[in-house]
Symmetry: C2
């Protein structure tokens, strides 16, 4: 399971303020807390700074790399921004994200090859963001073709089927869960990932919904997630779920997380 820590994202107010005020220590504490909680990649996003995203993202990367050797997940919708920061990234990162939109595909895929990155691909075409299971699987199929066709190994591709609020439509969660299962079965070797917070938009007790969705998705085959690893109940659900789908031999990871107080209650 590849875990991407989501906290250093400029859409979160405290992060945007820290970026604006060049508060490196605040950002570094966020990086260290996530590294300690247990992750594989640290997401860095400065997307809310329109016009100066590249500059702000470069600062974020520098600041985060100063305190951790965990690889980064470079999070931007702009291929030019991604291209401008990659030379300063020390360890092969993940890129978040591409879609079927040509400017993103053509702008990012050569960089994925050049820097030997992993890449997250959203189930989104030029004209639509996939909502039904059929749409999600159809776009995933095209993404697999385009990405592997450009020479990127299937093992480096993380398909994000997109998550919409279940409060908006009763079927929205199930369409993503079904898509995860179908995509993982149809393309052995590919990976799947997603963020969780959209699922609970508009509902009370959002954390219960988020962690329940994560477990359900893992039970259907999800093998990566973009989460807040410092939410211990979420992290406990994650570790228990991996154990229950047979991905934690002798329960060693679960027991280690328990001993280190990382399971919640």
């Amino acid at each position: 399971m590849i875990i991407i820590g989501e906290r250093i994202n400029s859409s979160r107010k405290p992060i945007a303020q820290a970026i604006l005020s060049n508060n490196a220590r605040f950002i570094q504490n966020e990086a260290k807390a996530q590294a300690k909680a247990g992750i594989n990649y640290i997401d860095v996003n400065a997307g809310s700074f329109v016009g100066e995203e590249a500059k702000r993202l470069r600062w974020l990367i520098e600041v985060v790399q100063d305190v951790t050797d965990d690889p980064l997940c470079i999070d931007s919708a702009d291929p030019e921004v991604i291209k401008s920061v990659l030379p300063m990234v020390r360890i092969a990162p993940m890129i978040n994200s591409i879609t079927l939109e040509p400017y993103r595909l053509e702008g990012v895929l050569p960089l994925v090859s050049e820097y030997r990155c992993k890449v997250i691909a959203l189930c989104q075409s030029e004209t639509s963001m996939a909502k039904t299971t059929e749409e999600k699987v159809r776009i995933a199929c095209q993404l697999v073709e385009k990405v592997t066709g450009s020479g990127v190994p299937l093992d480096d591709l993380y398909i994000d089927p997109l998550v919409y609020p279940v409060a908006t439509h009763t079927e929205f969660a199930l369409s993503t869960l079904d898509a995860i299962e179908q995509i993982m079965k149809q393309f052995p070797g590919v990976h799947s990932t997603c963020g969780l917070t959209n699922i609970s938009y508009g509902l009370p007790n959002r954390r219960i919904v988020n962690r329940t969705f994560l477990v359900a998705a893992i039970a259907r085959g999800l093998d990566s997630a973009i989460i807040d690893p410092t939410d211990t109940r979420l992290y406990g659900s994650l570790k228990a779920a991996l154990m229950l789908v047979g991905k934690d031999k002798f329960c060693l990871e679960y027991l280690t997380a328990f001993r280190e107080g990382r399971l919640g209650s």
Copy 2:
């Protein structure tokens, strides 16, 4: 989702003591607490009183029926005990349980027909308790044949694939999850149920493991469970999971449980 409240079971010490001392009020409080938390059936079990199980179970049934109109789940491995108590049960109950063992099949199936009960059937043959997915599905298949062959509608059959501790064998949880999915796909209209507590035997933080397993099982098709409904975090996971698999239109049940403080935190 059919929820069976598991608390009134003589294998639990306080229940055994209450039965021994004819403490009706204690048992009735357990019944009322479960009814309030939200269940469809109340399990009643006096199996630990060898030699006087029937007498103790009759007392339990009388005491519970005095305070609730929720139907009962008559929980005994002994067909004679089940036969002796059924005449006093006011509302068509569930019977827990039969197996492929002939004395249980032949002893109980006529009662299921006569009293129009629902029945839980364990994936257990004369010679073995099913551990692998293949065994579970094979025995489930035989159970479906035997039960429907005796004239009981498929809709009244709840197959329990059996749950073993994941700490004993890394594959034990997954074999049950896979069996649930296969059984529900192979026999449209049949139901599946299980208890949760075995899964976490030998591990710390058992409640996390239990509720995570419940969510994973619902994500794979489980449509009934034998649980402690007064465990609010478990109940919250249950309600969120049902919402996420599309079984809670407009999130109404989730929102109601939230307003009534039944979701946990």
